[in-house]
Point group: C2
DNA sequence: ACACGATTAAAACAGATGTTTTAATCATAC
DNA sequence: GTATGATTAAAACATCTGTTTTAATCGTGT
Protein backbone atom coordinates (compact mmCIF):
# COMPACT_ATOMS: atom_id res chain seq x y z
CA UNK A 1 0.00 0.00 0.00
CA UNK A 2 1.26 3.42 -0.89
CA UNK A 3 -0.14 5.49 1.97
CA UNK A 4 -0.95 4.17 5.42
CA UNK A 5 -4.13 2.26 4.78
CA UNK A 6 -6.64 3.96 2.57
CA UNK A 7 -9.35 1.77 4.05
CA UNK A 8 -8.69 3.17 7.50
CA UNK A 9 -8.61 6.76 6.30
CA UNK A 10 -11.96 6.28 4.59
CA UNK A 11 -13.44 4.79 7.74
CA UNK A 12 -12.22 7.73 9.79
CA UNK A 13 -13.53 10.32 7.36
CA UNK A 14 -16.88 8.55 7.01
CA UNK A 15 -17.25 8.26 10.77
CA UNK A 16 -16.61 11.95 11.16
CA UNK A 17 -18.95 13.11 8.41
CA UNK A 18 -21.74 10.65 9.15
CA UNK A 19 -21.65 11.72 12.78
CA UNK A 20 -21.57 15.38 11.97
CA UNK A 21 -24.06 15.62 9.11
CA UNK A 22 -25.95 12.36 9.05
CA UNK A 23 -25.95 9.54 6.55
CA UNK A 24 -28.04 11.08 3.81
CA UNK A 25 -26.43 14.50 3.96
CA UNK A 26 -22.99 12.99 3.51
CA UNK A 27 -21.75 12.22 0.00
CA UNK A 28 -19.11 9.72 -1.02
CA UNK A 29 -17.25 12.55 -2.71
CA UNK A 30 -17.13 14.42 0.58
CA UNK A 31 -15.79 11.35 2.29
CA UNK A 32 -13.12 10.50 -0.25
CA UNK A 33 -11.97 14.10 -0.47
CA UNK A 34 -11.60 14.28 3.30
CA UNK A 35 -9.83 10.94 3.32
CA UNK A 36 -7.60 12.05 0.45
CA UNK A 37 -8.63 9.00 -1.52
CA UNK A 38 -10.15 8.35 -4.91
CA UNK A 39 -13.91 8.30 -5.27
CA UNK A 40 -13.96 4.72 -6.51
CA UNK A 41 -12.05 3.54 -3.45
CA UNK A 42 -15.20 3.34 -1.37
CA UNK A 43 -16.92 0.93 -3.71
CA UNK A 44 -13.68 -0.97 -4.22
CA UNK A 45 -12.99 -1.51 -0.53
CA UNK A 46 -16.48 -1.66 0.90
CA UNK A 47 -18.88 -2.35 -1.95
CA UNK A 48 -21.40 0.41 -1.34
CA UNK A 49 -22.19 3.44 0.75
CA UNK A 50 -24.45 1.40 2.99
CA UNK A 51 -21.79 -1.25 3.53
CA UNK A 52 -19.39 1.52 4.45
CA UNK A 53 -21.81 2.73 7.11
CA UNK A 54 -22.00 -0.77 8.54
CA UNK A 55 -18.22 -1.04 8.59
CA UNK A 56 -17.98 2.28 10.41
CA UNK A 57 -20.45 1.16 13.04
CA UNK A 58 -19.13 -2.34 13.52
CA UNK A 59 -15.51 -1.31 13.87
CA UNK A 60 -16.17 0.20 17.27
CA UNK A 61 -19.51 -1.23 18.35
CA UNK A 62 -18.48 -4.87 18.54
CA UNK A 63 -15.44 -4.25 20.76
CA UNK A 64 -17.50 -1.87 22.89
CA UNK A 65 -20.18 -4.48 23.42
CA UNK A 66 -17.51 -6.98 24.43
CA UNK A 67 -16.44 -4.65 27.21
CA UNK A 68 -19.99 -3.90 28.32
CA UNK A 69 -20.83 -7.58 28.39
CA UNK A 70 -17.68 -8.42 30.36
CA UNK A 71 -18.38 -5.74 32.94
CA UNK A 72 -21.98 -6.88 33.26
CA UNK A 73 -21.21 -10.57 33.66
CA UNK A 74 -18.51 -9.87 36.20
CA UNK A 75 -20.97 -7.82 38.19
CA UNK A 76 -23.67 -10.46 38.07
CA UNK A 77 -21.28 -13.19 39.10
CA UNK A 78 -19.95 -11.17 42.01
CA UNK A 79 -23.46 -10.48 43.23
CA UNK A 80 -24.42 -14.13 42.98
CA UNK A 81 -21.35 -15.21 44.92
CA UNK A 82 -22.22 -12.71 47.63
CA UNK A 83 -25.77 -14.02 47.67
CA UNK A 84 -27.11 -10.58 46.82
CA UNK A 85 -29.07 -9.02 44.04
CA UNK A 86 -27.07 -6.87 41.63
CA UNK A 87 -27.70 -3.19 42.16
CA UNK A 88 -29.57 -1.33 39.46
CA UNK A 89 -26.99 1.43 39.45
CA UNK A 90 -24.15 -0.96 38.75
CA UNK A 91 -26.04 -2.71 35.98
CA UNK A 92 -26.66 0.61 34.30
CA UNK A 93 -23.05 1.53 34.90
CA UNK A 94 -21.87 -1.56 33.04
CA UNK A 95 -23.74 -0.28 30.03
CA UNK A 96 -23.04 3.41 30.24
CA UNK A 97 -19.54 3.71 31.60
CA UNK A 98 -17.67 1.94 28.77
CA UNK A 99 -19.69 3.97 26.30
CA UNK A 100 -18.96 7.41 27.64
CA UNK A 101 -15.39 6.54 28.46
CA UNK A 102 -14.77 6.21 24.75
CA UNK A 103 -14.57 9.98 24.78
CA UNK A 104 -11.37 9.77 26.72
CA UNK A 105 -9.84 8.00 23.73
CA UNK A 106 -9.81 11.16 21.70
CA UNK A 107 -11.98 12.82 19.17
CA UNK A 108 -12.16 9.91 16.75
CA UNK A 109 -14.17 7.83 19.18
CA UNK A 110 -16.17 10.92 20.01
CA UNK A 111 -17.45 10.97 16.46
CA UNK A 112 -18.52 7.38 16.88
CA UNK A 113 -20.50 8.21 19.99
CA UNK A 114 -22.32 10.98 18.19
CA UNK A 115 -23.02 8.67 15.30
CA UNK A 116 -24.57 6.03 17.52
CA UNK A 117 -26.62 8.66 19.29
CA UNK A 118 -27.87 9.80 15.94
CA UNK A 119 -28.62 6.28 14.86
CA UNK A 120 -30.73 5.67 17.93
CA UNK A 121 -32.69 8.73 16.93
CA UNK A 122 -33.77 7.59 13.48
CA UNK A 123 -36.31 4.83 14.00
CA UNK A 124 -36.66 3.72 10.41
CA UNK A 125 -33.18 4.60 9.24
CA UNK A 126 -30.70 2.37 7.48
CA UNK A 127 -28.32 2.68 10.38
CA UNK A 128 -30.92 1.44 12.84
CA UNK A 129 -31.21 -2.04 11.36
CA UNK A 130 -27.43 -2.36 11.32
CA UNK A 131 -27.26 -1.15 14.88
CA UNK A 132 -29.96 -3.45 16.17
CA UNK A 133 -28.41 -6.49 14.56
CA UNK A 134 -25.30 -5.90 16.65
CA UNK A 135 -27.08 -4.75 19.82
CA UNK A 136 -30.03 -7.09 20.32
CA UNK A 137 -28.37 -9.85 22.40
CA UNK A 138 -26.70 -7.42 24.78
CA UNK A 139 -29.87 -5.39 25.18
CA UNK A 140 -31.80 -8.49 26.17
CA UNK A 141 -29.13 -9.44 28.67
CA UNK A 142 -29.25 -5.97 30.20
CA UNK A 143 -33.00 -6.23 30.45
CA UNK A 144 -32.68 -9.53 32.31
CA UNK A 145 -30.11 -8.06 34.66
CA UNK A 146 -32.25 -5.02 35.38
CA UNK A 147 -35.24 -7.26 36.06
CA UNK A 148 -33.08 -9.15 38.56
CA UNK A 149 -32.00 -5.96 40.29
CA UNK A 150 -35.53 -4.55 40.49
CA UNK A 151 -37.76 -7.47 41.45
CA UNK A 152 -40.58 -5.17 42.52
CA UNK A 153 -41.15 -3.85 39.01
CA UNK A 154 -43.48 -5.44 36.49
CA UNK A 155 -41.95 -6.21 33.11
CA UNK A 156 -44.13 -3.51 31.65
CA UNK A 157 -42.82 -0.83 34.00
CA UNK A 158 -39.27 -2.03 33.60
CA UNK A 159 -39.52 -1.83 29.84
CA UNK A 160 -40.68 1.75 29.84
CA UNK A 161 -38.11 2.88 32.34
CA UNK A 162 -35.36 1.21 30.41
CA UNK A 163 -36.78 2.94 27.35
CA UNK A 164 -36.52 6.31 29.12
CA UNK A 165 -32.99 5.51 30.19
CA UNK A 166 -31.94 4.70 26.66
CA UNK A 167 -33.47 7.99 25.60
CA UNK A 168 -31.37 9.87 28.12
CA UNK A 169 -28.26 8.06 27.05
CA UNK A 170 -28.71 8.57 23.34
CA UNK A 171 -29.40 12.22 24.03
CA UNK A 172 -26.20 12.91 25.88
CA UNK A 173 -24.31 10.81 23.36
CA UNK A 174 -25.17 13.07 20.50
CA UNK A 175 -25.55 16.40 22.30
CA UNK A 176 -22.10 16.54 23.77
CA UNK A 177 -20.78 20.11 23.84
CA UNK A 178 -22.54 22.99 22.14
CA UNK A 179 -26.12 22.64 23.21
CA UNK A 180 -29.04 25.03 23.25
CA UNK A 181 -29.95 27.28 26.09
CA UNK A 182 -27.13 26.81 28.52
CA UNK A 183 -27.18 29.36 31.35
CA UNK A 184 -24.05 31.37 32.00
CA UNK A 185 -22.90 29.76 35.20
CA UNK A 186 -23.15 26.23 33.87
CA UNK A 187 -20.01 24.40 32.95
CA UNK A 188 -20.81 22.45 29.83
CA UNK A 189 -17.48 20.65 29.79
CA UNK A 190 -18.23 18.31 32.62
CA UNK A 191 -15.52 15.67 33.06
CA UNK A 192 -16.62 12.27 31.85
CA UNK A 193 -16.57 10.70 35.32
CA UNK A 194 -18.83 13.36 36.74
CA UNK A 195 -21.18 13.10 33.80
CA UNK A 196 -21.45 9.36 34.35
CA UNK A 197 -22.30 9.77 38.03
CA UNK A 198 -24.80 12.53 37.22
CA UNK A 199 -26.42 10.28 34.67
CA UNK A 200 -26.53 7.34 37.08
CA UNK A 201 -27.99 9.52 39.84
CA UNK A 202 -30.79 10.56 37.54
CA UNK A 203 -31.63 7.28 35.88
CA UNK A 204 -31.22 5.09 38.93
CA UNK A 205 -33.63 7.29 40.82
CA UNK A 206 -36.09 6.98 37.97
CA UNK A 207 -35.69 3.24 37.76
CA UNK A 208 -36.12 2.63 41.46
CA UNK A 209 -38.93 5.02 42.35
CA UNK A 210 -42.13 3.49 43.72
CA UNK A 211 -45.28 3.82 41.69
CA UNK B 1 -58.64 27.66 -5.54
CA UNK B 2 -59.56 24.56 -7.43
CA UNK B 3 -58.93 21.92 -4.80
CA UNK B 4 -59.13 22.47 -1.07
CA UNK B 5 -55.92 24.34 -0.42
CA UNK B 6 -52.86 23.03 -2.13
CA UNK B 7 -50.73 24.75 0.46
CA UNK B 8 -52.32 22.73 3.23
CA UNK B 9 -51.97 19.46 1.35
CA UNK B 10 -48.29 20.11 0.78
CA UNK B 11 -47.78 20.90 4.46
CA UNK B 12 -49.48 17.65 5.45
CA UNK B 13 -47.49 15.56 2.99
CA UNK B 14 -44.23 17.22 3.97
CA UNK B 15 -44.93 16.76 7.66
CA UNK B 16 -45.58 13.08 7.11
CA UNK B 17 -42.54 12.41 4.94
CA UNK B 18 -40.11 14.56 6.91
CA UNK B 19 -41.19 12.79 10.07
CA UNK B 20 -40.95 9.35 8.55
CA UNK B 21 -37.77 9.60 6.52
CA UNK B 22 -36.00 12.74 7.66
CA UNK B 23 -35.36 15.99 5.85
CA UNK B 24 -32.55 14.96 3.55
CA UNK B 25 -34.07 11.63 2.56
CA UNK B 26 -37.29 13.32 1.50
CA UNK B 27 -37.52 14.80 -2.00
CA UNK B 28 -39.78 17.57 -3.18
CA UNK B 29 -41.05 15.22 -5.85
CA UNK B 30 -42.05 12.73 -3.20
CA UNK B 31 -43.88 15.46 -1.33
CA UNK B 32 -45.73 16.92 -4.30
CA UNK B 33 -46.71 13.48 -5.55
CA UNK B 34 -48.12 12.57 -2.14
CA UNK B 35 -49.90 15.91 -1.96
CA UNK B 36 -51.20 15.49 -5.49
CA UNK B 37 -49.71 18.82 -6.44
CA UNK B 38 -47.29 20.07 -9.04
CA UNK B 39 -43.59 20.04 -8.33
CA UNK B 40 -43.27 23.79 -8.75
CA UNK B 41 -45.99 24.41 -6.20
CA UNK B 42 -43.55 24.07 -3.31
CA UNK B 43 -41.29 26.83 -4.54
CA UNK B 44 -44.27 28.92 -5.54
CA UNK B 45 -46.00 28.75 -2.17
CA UNK B 46 -43.06 28.45 0.19
CA UNK B 47 -39.97 29.60 -1.66
CA UNK B 48 -37.67 26.68 -0.95
CA UNK B 49 -37.45 23.26 0.63
CA UNK B 50 -35.96 24.72 3.77
CA UNK B 51 -38.71 27.32 4.07
CA UNK B 52 -41.23 24.51 3.70
CA UNK B 53 -39.64 22.71 6.63
CA UNK B 54 -39.93 25.84 8.73
CA UNK B 55 -43.58 26.24 7.77
CA UNK B 56 -44.25 22.63 8.73
CA UNK B 57 -42.64 23.10 12.14
CA UNK B 58 -44.12 26.48 12.94
CA UNK B 59 -47.68 25.54 12.03
CA UNK B 60 -47.99 23.34 15.11
CA UNK B 61 -45.10 24.40 17.34
CA UNK B 62 -46.25 27.95 17.98
CA UNK B 63 -49.78 26.99 19.08
CA UNK B 64 -48.34 24.17 21.16
CA UNK B 65 -45.99 26.52 22.94
CA UNK B 66 -48.90 28.85 23.65
CA UNK B 67 -50.65 26.05 25.47
CA UNK B 68 -47.54 24.97 27.35
CA UNK B 69 -46.85 28.52 28.42
CA UNK B 70 -50.45 29.04 29.55
CA UNK B 71 -50.43 25.90 31.64
CA UNK B 72 -47.09 26.83 33.16
CA UNK B 73 -48.03 30.39 34.08
CA UNK B 74 -51.34 29.26 35.58
CA UNK B 75 -49.46 26.78 37.71
CA UNK B 76 -46.90 29.30 38.89
CA UNK B 77 -49.57 31.83 39.73
CA UNK B 78 -51.60 29.32 41.68
CA UNK B 79 -48.55 28.28 43.68
CA UNK B 80 -47.68 31.88 44.46
CA UNK B 81 -51.20 32.65 45.62
CA UNK B 82 -51.06 29.63 47.88
CA UNK B 83 -47.70 30.78 49.17
CA UNK B 84 -46.08 27.55 48.06
CA UNK B 85 -43.37 26.53 45.68
CA UNK B 86 -44.56 24.97 42.43
CA UNK B 87 -44.00 21.25 42.37
CA UNK B 88 -41.39 19.94 39.98
CA UNK B 89 -43.79 17.31 38.69
CA UNK B 90 -46.38 19.88 37.71
CA UNK B 91 -43.84 22.09 36.00
CA UNK B 92 -42.69 19.15 33.93
CA UNK B 93 -46.29 18.24 33.29
CA UNK B 94 -46.99 21.67 31.84
CA UNK B 95 -44.32 20.97 29.29
CA UNK B 96 -44.95 17.33 28.54
CA UNK B 97 -48.67 16.88 28.76
CA UNK B 98 -49.72 19.24 25.96
CA UNK B 99 -47.04 17.67 23.78
CA UNK B 100 -48.02 14.05 24.14
CA UNK B 101 -51.70 14.86 24.08
CA UNK B 102 -51.28 15.96 20.50
CA UNK B 103 -51.35 12.27 19.71
CA UNK B 104 -54.97 12.17 20.69
CA UNK B 105 -55.68 14.55 17.83
CA UNK B 106 -55.08 11.87 15.26
CA UNK B 107 -52.22 10.71 13.13
CA UNK B 108 -51.43 14.08 11.54
CA UNK B 109 -50.27 15.54 14.79
CA UNK B 110 -48.50 12.29 15.50
CA UNK B 111 -46.27 12.92 12.52
CA UNK B 112 -45.45 16.30 13.93
CA UNK B 113 -44.40 14.80 17.24
CA UNK B 114 -42.08 12.39 15.50
CA UNK B 115 -40.65 15.21 13.45
CA UNK B 116 -39.86 17.29 16.50
CA UNK B 117 -38.31 14.28 18.19
CA UNK B 118 -36.16 13.79 15.15
CA UNK B 119 -35.23 17.44 15.07
CA UNK B 120 -34.06 17.35 18.64
CA UNK B 121 -31.84 14.50 17.64
CA UNK B 122 -29.85 16.26 14.96
CA UNK B 123 -27.65 18.79 16.72
CA UNK B 124 -26.31 20.56 13.67
CA UNK B 125 -29.31 20.02 11.42
CA UNK B 126 -31.22 22.63 9.51
CA UNK B 127 -34.33 21.88 11.52
CA UNK B 128 -32.54 22.51 14.80
CA UNK B 129 -31.96 26.20 14.23
CA UNK B 130 -35.56 26.67 13.18
CA UNK B 131 -36.70 24.76 16.24
CA UNK B 132 -34.52 26.67 18.68
CA UNK B 133 -35.63 30.02 17.36
CA UNK B 134 -39.19 29.13 18.33
CA UNK B 135 -38.36 27.31 21.56
CA UNK B 136 -35.75 29.41 23.32
CA UNK B 137 -38.00 31.73 25.36
CA UNK B 138 -40.20 28.94 26.64
CA UNK B 139 -37.21 26.77 27.50
CA UNK B 140 -35.74 29.54 29.59
CA UNK B 141 -39.02 30.05 31.39
CA UNK B 142 -39.24 26.34 32.14
CA UNK B 143 -35.72 26.42 33.48
CA UNK B 144 -36.63 29.29 35.81
CA UNK B 145 -39.72 27.45 37.00
CA UNK B 146 -37.77 24.28 37.66
CA UNK B 147 -35.18 26.25 39.58
CA UNK B 148 -37.99 27.64 41.69
CA UNK B 149 -39.42 24.21 42.39
CA UNK B 150 -36.06 22.68 43.27
CA UNK B 151 -34.26 25.29 45.38
CA UNK B 152 -31.81 22.75 46.72
CA UNK B 153 -30.23 22.12 43.32
CA UNK B 154 -27.34 24.11 41.91
CA UNK B 155 -27.88 25.58 38.47
CA UNK B 156 -25.32 23.17 37.16
CA UNK B 157 -27.13 20.13 38.46
CA UNK B 158 -30.46 21.49 37.34
CA UNK B 159 -29.16 22.05 33.84
CA UNK B 160 -27.94 18.49 33.43
CA UNK B 161 -31.08 16.97 34.83
CA UNK B 162 -33.24 19.07 32.58
CA UNK B 163 -30.97 17.96 29.76
CA UNK B 164 -31.61 14.33 30.66
CA UNK B 165 -35.34 14.99 30.85
CA UNK B 166 -35.37 16.51 27.39
CA UNK B 167 -33.51 13.47 26.17
CA UNK B 168 -36.18 11.19 27.58
CA UNK B 169 -38.92 13.26 26.06
CA UNK B 170 -37.43 13.50 22.59
CA UNK B 171 -36.86 9.77 22.69
CA UNK B 172 -40.44 8.83 23.40
CA UNK B 173 -41.61 11.43 20.92
CA UNK B 174 -39.92 9.78 18.01
CA UNK B 175 -39.96 6.15 19.14
CA UNK B 176 -43.68 5.80 19.51
CA UNK B 177 -44.87 2.34 18.47
CA UNK B 178 -42.59 -0.14 16.78
CA UNK B 179 -39.46 -0.12 18.85
CA UNK B 180 -36.63 -2.56 19.20
CA UNK B 181 -36.44 -5.34 21.68
CA UNK B 182 -39.86 -5.32 23.26
CA UNK B 183 -40.52 -8.38 25.44
CA UNK B 184 -43.64 -10.42 24.76
CA UNK B 185 -45.69 -9.45 27.77
CA UNK B 186 -45.18 -5.74 27.33
CA UNK B 187 -47.99 -3.67 25.95
CA UNK B 188 -46.41 -1.14 23.65
CA UNK B 189 -49.67 0.71 23.06
CA UNK B 190 -49.81 2.42 26.39
CA UNK B 191 -52.61 4.99 26.59
CA UNK B 192 -51.29 8.52 26.45
CA UNK B 193 -52.37 9.35 30.00
CA UNK B 194 -50.53 6.40 31.43
CA UNK B 195 -47.44 7.19 29.38
CA UNK B 196 -47.46 10.73 30.75
CA UNK B 197 -47.65 9.55 34.36
CA UNK B 198 -44.95 6.96 33.73
CA UNK B 199 -42.75 9.61 32.26
CA UNK B 200 -43.40 12.00 35.13
CA UNK B 201 -42.71 9.27 37.68
CA UNK B 202 -39.36 8.62 36.11
CA UNK B 203 -38.17 12.14 35.43
CA UNK B 204 -39.49 13.70 38.64
CA UNK B 205 -37.64 11.09 40.66
CA UNK B 206 -34.49 11.88 38.71
CA UNK B 207 -34.93 15.60 39.18
CA UNK B 208 -35.56 15.43 42.88
CA UNK B 209 -33.07 12.83 44.01
CA UNK B 210 -30.42 13.97 46.51
CA UNK B 211 -26.82 13.95 45.42
C1' DA C 1 13.99 -8.00 -14.98
C1' DC C 2 9.64 -9.74 -15.27
C1' DA C 3 5.02 -10.88 -14.31
C1' DC C 4 0.97 -10.88 -11.65
C1' DG C 5 -2.49 -9.45 -8.38
C1' DA C 6 -3.80 -5.56 -5.67
C1' DT C 7 -4.67 -0.90 -5.55
C1' DT C 8 -5.38 3.71 -7.42
C1' DA C 9 -6.75 7.14 -10.93
C1' DA C 10 -9.74 9.41 -14.15
C1' DA C 11 -13.64 9.40 -16.71
C1' DA C 12 -18.17 8.21 -17.80
C1' DC C 13 -22.79 6.41 -16.45
C1' DA C 14 -27.65 6.84 -15.57
C1' DG C 15 -30.61 8.80 -12.55
C1' DA C 16 -32.22 12.05 -8.92
C1' DT C 17 -32.07 16.54 -6.79
C1' DG C 18 -33.81 21.62 -5.91
C1' DT C 19 -34.93 25.41 -8.55
C1' DT C 20 -36.50 28.33 -12.71
C1' DT C 21 -38.76 29.34 -16.68
C1' DT C 22 -42.51 29.49 -19.87
C1' DA C 23 -47.37 28.62 -20.94
C1' DA C 24 -51.64 27.38 -19.85
C1' DT C 25 -55.58 27.65 -16.78
C1' DC C 26 -58.46 29.29 -13.26
C1' DA C 27 -61.33 32.57 -10.49
C1' DT C 28 -62.97 36.96 -9.91
C1' DA C 29 -64.05 41.96 -10.79
C1' DC C 30 -65.43 45.22 -14.09
C1' DG D 1 -67.53 38.87 -22.10
C1' DT D 2 -63.21 40.34 -21.22
C1' DA D 3 -59.19 41.77 -18.69
C1' DT D 4 -56.34 40.88 -14.58
C1' DG D 5 -53.93 38.55 -11.10
C1' DA D 6 -53.35 34.18 -8.80
C1' DT D 7 -52.51 29.50 -9.36
C1' DT D 8 -51.23 25.34 -11.87
C1' DA D 9 -48.84 22.60 -15.42
C1' DA D 10 -44.98 20.91 -18.04
C1' DA D 11 -40.52 21.24 -19.36
C1' DA D 12 -35.86 22.48 -18.94
C1' DC D 13 -31.90 23.87 -15.89
C1' DA D 14 -27.56 22.93 -13.86
C1' DT D 15 -25.76 20.26 -10.36
C1' DC D 16 -25.09 16.45 -7.55
C1' DT D 17 -25.77 11.54 -6.42
C1' DG D 18 -23.89 6.38 -6.04
C1' DT D 19 -21.90 3.23 -8.98
C1' DT D 20 -19.04 1.20 -13.06
C1' DT D 21 -15.73 0.99 -16.32
C1' DT D 22 -11.23 1.30 -18.24
C1' DA D 23 -6.30 2.25 -17.67
C1' DA D 24 -2.60 3.20 -15.28
C1' DT D 25 0.32 2.29 -11.32
C1' DC D 26 2.20 0.06 -7.43
C1' DG D 27 4.26 -3.66 -4.56
C1' DT D 28 5.95 -8.19 -4.23
C1' DG D 29 7.58 -12.79 -5.31
C1' DT D 30 10.17 -15.13 -8.70
Amino acid sequence: MSQPDTKQRILDAAEHLFARNGYHATSLRGITTTADANLAAVNYHFGSKEALLEAVIVRRLDPLNEIRRGQLEALLQKAELAGELPSCREVLRAFVEPTLRLRQQGSEAEDFIALIGRTLAEPRGIAMSIFLRHMQPLLQRIFQALALSLPALTEQDLFWRMHFTMGCLSHIMRCHERYSMVPDNVNIDLPVDELIEHFLDFTTAGMEVAR
